[in-house]
């Protein structure tokens, strides 16, 4: 069965520090991969997506993610975190050629210390 694992439930970093949020998936082929961010009380905003091609993808707000097929991973990174990045981050996989149903990880809540 398809699944997405975000191993870290909570992460705390200092402002200006680098960030890496982990995402591992289980899927029979190469899925579509997404990272979304959710600020408190808000909906989900798309940060970036991977469909095919270059395995390093750039997103909004200075985020990037790298698809590693051999590790079934799609980790999200940012070189320098800002206080406004405090939010919950969700990794999701979608099914190419299907109805694009998404399977989400449980999320990682990021806190940023000044």
């Amino acid at each position: 069965a398809q699944s997405v694992t975000q191993p870290d439930i909570h992460i705390t970093v200092s402002e200006g520090a680098s960030l890496e949020l982990r995402c591992n998936y289980s899927y029979g082929a190469t899925p579509y991969l997404f990272w979304y961010v959710q600020s408190p009380g808000q909906g989900l905003q798309l940060l970036l997506k991977y469909f095919s091609g270059d395995t390093l993808v750039q997103g909004i707000k200075g985020f990037e993610a790298e698809f590693k097929r051999s590790q079934s991973s799609f980790n999200l990174r940012k070189p320098s975190v800002h206080w406004s990045d405090a939010a919950e981050y969700f990794c999701a996989v979608g099914e190419p050629g299907g109805y694009n149903k998404l399977i989400f990880g449980a999320g990682t809540r990021l806190a940023v210390h000044p």
């Binding site: 997405v4 975000q6 579509y32 997404f34 979304y36 808000q42 909906g43 989900l44 905003q45 798309l46 997506k49 469909f51 969700f90 999701a92 979608g94 190419p96 109805y99 694009n100 149903k101 998404l102 399977i103 989400f104 990880g105 449980a106 999320g107």
Partner: protein, 115 residues
């Protein structure tokens, strides 16, 4: 932002009461989805629609029904609400007409409390 609205935004109801949540889009997208968000589970798909009158079940469809009589509206109904259906409900839309457009855009959510 994609033109998606959800109504109501907040609702408190009692066990056994029927509840209908509405998702309205102005993007004319073909695909629409309903998810619920619960702590520790992320978002889970309830039902989805791939066209007017074309709907199917998702991962957690028990206790829910949907209808789509117009492209722009996708209704989620809890026939008899239970406390386990207390959650935040999100609607999403997707164009999925061309390769590379399989992205879902989410509405602001509806917080439902069943007492």
């Amino acid at each position: 932002d994609a033109g998606i609205t959800q109504s109501p935004r907040h609702k408190v109801t009692e066990t056994g009461t029927p509840v209908t949540l509405r998702c309205h889009q102005t993007e004319n997208h073909r695909y629409m989805y309903w998810y619920r968000q619960d702590p520790g589970h992320g978002l889970r798909l309830i039902h989805y629609s791939y066209g007017v009158k074309d709907t199917d079940k998702g991962e957690v469809s028990d206790g829910y029904s949907v209808s789509r009589s117009k492209t722009e509206d996708f209704l989620l109904t809890l026939e008899s609400a239970t406390s386990s259906q207390t959650s935040v409900y999100f609607c999403a839309i997707s164009p999925r007409e061309l390769k590379g457009t399989d992205t879902q855009y989410f509405g602001p959510g509806t917080r439902l409390t069943v007492l």
